[in-house]
């Protein structure tokens, strides 16, 4: 979807100012919802994930930017709460073909933003999946703390 020229600079400015180092808004539309992710994770998602998983998740993300988090659980699902540093973060995931992008929703400079904090790019054992979610949860708590 082409970006609206009038809103793109504003969204980028907000991401630079308000998001932690290494995180940026991804394909901002200036809509009600935005999505942010770390540079390394995003590059890996774009390059290494198989095409059908990537496009399935990207389509869900495109819809998310306009409608928010209302999806069938096969596309976007609540993954439990992660607690740490006195904070409790609600974790959710974009899903497709065994690939998961974990993260949480926060208000960043007035924008309701889903921040991707971790991933699970390959079908793994249940234990490995739990480890990936725990790592994403810990990063989510760190980001939440930084955002204040």
């Amino acid at each position: 979807m082409p970006l609206k020229e009038d809103v793109k600079p504003k969204a980028i400015l907000l991401s630079r100012d308000a998001l932690p180092d290494g995180y940026s808004l991804r394909e901002p539309t200036g809509g009600r919802y935005e999505i942010a992710a770390g540079d390394g994770l995003w590059k890996e998602f774009k390059d290494d994930v198989n095409a059908e998983a990537r496009t399935r998740i990207e389509t869900t993300m495109e819809e998310y930017r306009s409608r928010g988090p209302r999806f069938p659980p096969s596309l976007f699902e609540f993954e439990g709460h992660h607690e740490g540093q006195g904070l409790k973060v609600r974790m959710e995931a974009f899903k497709g073909w065994g690939v998961r992008l974990y993260g949480f929703c926060a208000t960043v400079a007035g924008l309701s933003t889903f921040i991707v904090t971790g991933s699970d790019f390959k079908k793994k054992t249940v234990k490995a999946k739990a480890r990936a979610l725990r790592a994403a949860g810990a990063e989510a708590v760190r980001i939440r703390k930084l955002l204040g």
Binding site: V49, N50, A51, E52, T55, E58, T59, E63, S74, G96
Partner: protein
């Protein structure tokens, strides 16, 4: 013989573009995968929205379709098994809807037409609308309930939707 034909038509996992990392696909190859997945995802979201609006569960839909709940769950899965054109039409029907297949360009054209009518309506002088309040039914209108009027100058025809007082469209004189 049949077995050989089936084997030739099968796409092995290693040859299926959808299973390849995005970076290893050409632009068109990737776009083809994206077109399929996007269509499936949006179909699933539409069905999900219709169920949500009606307060219905997968089990309710399964009952109406006369299939198992597991089959309904498969329709929402990655592979969207059983989500065929026939099934989509059935789902829409049991939910009181009619399935219509359209395209972005067709949607865009419809929006553009509506916008043109809106702009034309906004630009009409007040006297014009006062005049239009007394437009009589035109004899021999093509569509039942449609009113029309031939106008001089730059507007040639105005049509009003008999079912919607807010809607009118215009044709400019050549």
């Amino acid at each position: 013989m049949n077995k050989i034909v089936r084997k030739e038509n099968q796409v092995s996992k290693s040859n299926d573009p959808g299973k390849q990392p995005s970076s290893q696909l050409g632009t068109e190859e990737y776009a083809l995968v994206a077109a399929q997945e996007a269509f499936i995802v949006r179909s699933q979201i539409l069905i999900y929205d219709l169920l949500s609006d009606r307060g219905m569960t997968h089990a309710d839909l399964a009952t109406r379709l006369g299939v198992s709940e597991a089959r309904v769950s498969q329709m929402f899965g990655d592979a969207a098994k059983n989500l065929t054109m026939r099934t989509i039409a059935k789902i829409m029907h049991v939910l009181g809807e009619t399935a219509v297949l359209t395209t972005r360009s067709a949607e865009g054209a419809a929006l553009a037409n509506a916008r043109t009518a809106e702009i034309a309506a906004a630009e009409m002088p007040v006297e014009f609308w006062q005049e239009m309040k007394v437009v009589p039914l035109r004899q021999g209108a093509r569509k039942a309930g449609t009113r029309g009027l031939r106008l001089p100058d730059d507007l040639s025809t105005i049509r009003f939707d008999a079912d919607n007082d807010d809607y009118a469209d215009f044709e400019m004189a050549a």
